[in-house]
């Protein structure tokens, strides 16, 4: 067993739209070790969202291979995909994607509902995770009553509650101001320290600069995959 949590070899993906075929990913190789904190950068149309969707088993790929925790992820039934997502992956989105009519607590507990955890137990666990995010007092508030930073922290708690191996964050700070963005990044660092692999898709250099490694995509291929030299407060660092 290797220490790679995610291994991608020569990944291709095209979208067929009528007669036009759009080749989005043109042979990508990535090896992500367990416990890494990585950012994926690239301009729009570079294929970073597609890559994230494939990593999150939300989308399939055409060619190549994708190993998640040494298990090959090939085209699979939706049911199986749902189980994999539930077990291995926690999602964080730019627009938070909390269910609007459920309280913070219920939102956090939802993944456990799909694992058939008893209500009492999952609510207790959800409260614990909210407490870790410093949101215990907000447990019974609806998302509409929370600030952006609070919402994202609820979303992080929800991503963490199923004890995933990987956190996939799609522009997690895209809708937040700088201060809150850093707060969220701090939390993700904390999460990473517990051994969970964190993958962030972002187009903000300073956010990417706070991760250990930056993978840059351009036109469907990897342009560079560099380890950060230092963590600096200067957000203009170019790697």
């Amino acid at each position: 067993m290797s220490d790679s949590i995610i291994k991608i070899e020569n990944l291709h993906k095209s979208y067929i739209n009528g007669k036009n075929s759009l080749h989005v990913l043109k042979g990508i190789d990535i090896d992500i070790k367990e416990g890494e904190m990585i950012s994926i950068m690239g301009s729009s149309g570079s294929g970073k969202s597609t890559l994230l969707n494939i990593l999150g088993i939300l989308d399939s790929y055409d060619e190549g291979a994708y190993y998640l925790n040494d298990i090959v992820i090939r085209k699979m039934s939706e049911k199986k995909a749902a189980r994999f997502r539930n077990k291995y992956i926690g999602f964080i989105f730019q627009s938070f994607n909390l269910i609007s009519f459920k309280t913070a607590l219920e939102n956090v507990a939802l993944p456990l509902y799909y694992q058939n955890v008893k209500r009492k137990k999952r609510n207790a666990l959800a409260l614990e995770y909210l407490d870790r995010m410093g949101l215990k007092e907000w447990a019974n508030h609806l998302p509409s009553e929370l600030s952006g930073g609070q919402k994202q922290r609820v979303a992080i708690a929800r991503a963490l509650i199923s004890n995933p191996k990987i956190i996939l964050a799609d522009e997690p700070t895209g809708a937040l101001d700088t201060t809150t963005s850093y707060e969220v990044m701090d939390i993700l660092h904390e999460v990473n320290k517990t051994g969970i692999t964190v993958i962030i898709v972002t187009h903000e250099n300073d956010i990417a600069g706070r991760t250990e490694r930056i993978i840059r995509l351009k036109d469907g291929i990897i342009e560079s995959s560099d380890y950060a030299i230092t963590e600096t407060e200067d957000s203009t660092v170019v790697l």
Partner: protein, 417 residues
């Protein structure tokens, strides 16, 4: 399971008005179905009440006048029945269970008990008669073969006769009442299921013919047949006409020489008509429910569209397509189920009230209601059927929306800002 309901209720609570409006169409459908079925049953009960007095496969034969010349005899001849007709039919007519001759002793007969008296029609019959006309005996028995053979002066009366003439007697059986001055012993008291107020008095035909100078005359004949279908009963009727036509020398085609009343035919005709009405009612009811189903389905489709994002989130965090289908399907079943049961209860409640009101009216003397509309109830089986239809309806209503929900791709749902 409880968890699951909780999950559904939390979404239903989201939009109470919509849930109520959606449910209303289904409630209304079931309400109408129950009311229609109940009313149909009420009419049918009224119809059946009309037939309650005699067994349903009976034939009644009345004598008339010939309307055409036949066998060298002129038209307009009066046909008269005697004991010989009875004997002949009993011997020759097949398919007969019970047969009885009847003779009426007309109005002027004074019936008295001690100092009370009244005038009633007295009917002379044979022992088998109790198997042709339905009588519910509360005390004693009907005329038996020994009474008949030995010309006994015994009498059977309906309850109202006792109520009027023998108010003080706790047990009238064994007491003597006078018919035209001649004492007859009461052997039985009965209730008439067709008309609880009818005043009827029966004595043995043999006694009647002897005591009241009837000779061997019979006024008409009543019989019950073994037939179960109208065709069989019709065949018996034809045979009967032929036998009597030969004996009395009238044309078998002469419909006025004798009159035959075939209750099975009437009953089946009425039954057929009501089966038609019933079928019609079911069709209307089911159409109404279908309209409800389409309404629910429509609203569920809109609902799924509105909830695309939520369903996408659920799928991203581990909801399987099956669980999404269940979520929508059960919601639909829950709405239709609860709404339907509400409509069911309302419908049943209304029928119950109407039933009570009619019972009051009948008690208050509106006797004719018995024959028109009585006990309008949608029975338990219908309620069960309706409930099953509802669950089925909910499943159908939810199917298309659920399929759509399950097909939602989380990526598209989530990137759809």
């Amino acid at each position: 399971m409880l968890d699951f309901l909780e999950e559904i209720f939390s979404t239903l609570k989201q939009n109470k008005l919509r849930a109520v409006m959606t449910g209303f169409s289904v409630s209304w459908g079931i309400f109408m179905l129950i009311i229609l079925l109940g009313s149909g049953k009420g009419l049918e009960n009224g119809m059946e009440h009309n037939f309650a007095g005699s067994v349903k496969n009976s034939i009644w034969v009345y004598s008339g006048r010939t309307s055409e010349a036949h066998d060298g005899l002129k038209a307009g001849r009066r046909i008269k029945f005697t004991n010989e007709d009875y004997d002949l039919l009993k011997r020759k007519l097949s398919g007969i269970d019970n047969i009885s001759g009847r003779l009426y002793l007309y109005d002027n007969l004074t019936v008295s008990y001690k100092k009370d008296y009244a005038t009633y029609e007295v009917t002379c019959v044979m022992p088998q008669y109790s198997k042709i006309e339905v009588m519910n005996f509360t005390k004693g028995r009907f005329i038996d073969h020994l009474d008949f053979k030995k010309f006994r002066k015994v009498v059977v009366v309906s309850q109202p006769v006792v109520d009027i003439l023998m108010k003080k007697e706790s047990n009238p059986v064994g007491k003597y009442i006078k018919l035209g001055g001649i004492p007859f012993k009461i052997v039985g008291v009965f209730e008439d299921p067709e008309d609880a107020k009818s005043k009827k008095i029966y004595i043995p035909l043999s006694t009647g013919q002897k005591v009241f100078n009837g000779g061997n005359r019979i006024r008409n004949l009543a019989m019950s047949t073994k037939a179960t279908t109208v065709a069989e009963n019709k065949e018996i009727e034809k045979q009967l006409r032929n036998i009597l036509a030969r004996r009395h020398r009238f044309s078998p085609e002469d419909k006025k020489a004798i009159f035959v009343n075939n209750t099975l035919e009437h009953f089946k005709q009425a039954q057929g008509a009501f089966a038609g009405i019933k079928g019609f009612i079911w069709i209307i009811g089911i159409m109404t429910i279908i309209a409800g189903i389409v309404g629910v389905s429509n609203i569920m489709i809109i609902l799924v569209k509105e909830r695309t994002k939520e369903i996408g989130i659920r799928k991203a965090i581990g909801a399987s397509p099956a669980s999404v289908i269940r979520l929508i399907l059960y919601e639909s079943v829950l709405i239709t189920g609860i709404a339907g049961i509400l409509g069911l209860l309302l419908g049943m409640g209304l029928l119950f009230i109407v039933d009570k009101v009619i019972a009051k009216m009948i008690e208050g003397g509106a006797d004719q209601m018995n024959y028109i509309f009585n006990h309008p109830q949608a029975d338990f089986n219908i309620a069960i059927t309706a409930t099953l239809i509802l669950i089925f309806a909910g499943l159908i209503a939810g199917y298309v929306p659920a399929k759509r929900a399950a097909a939602i791709k989380p990526i598209e749902a989530l990137h759809d800002e």
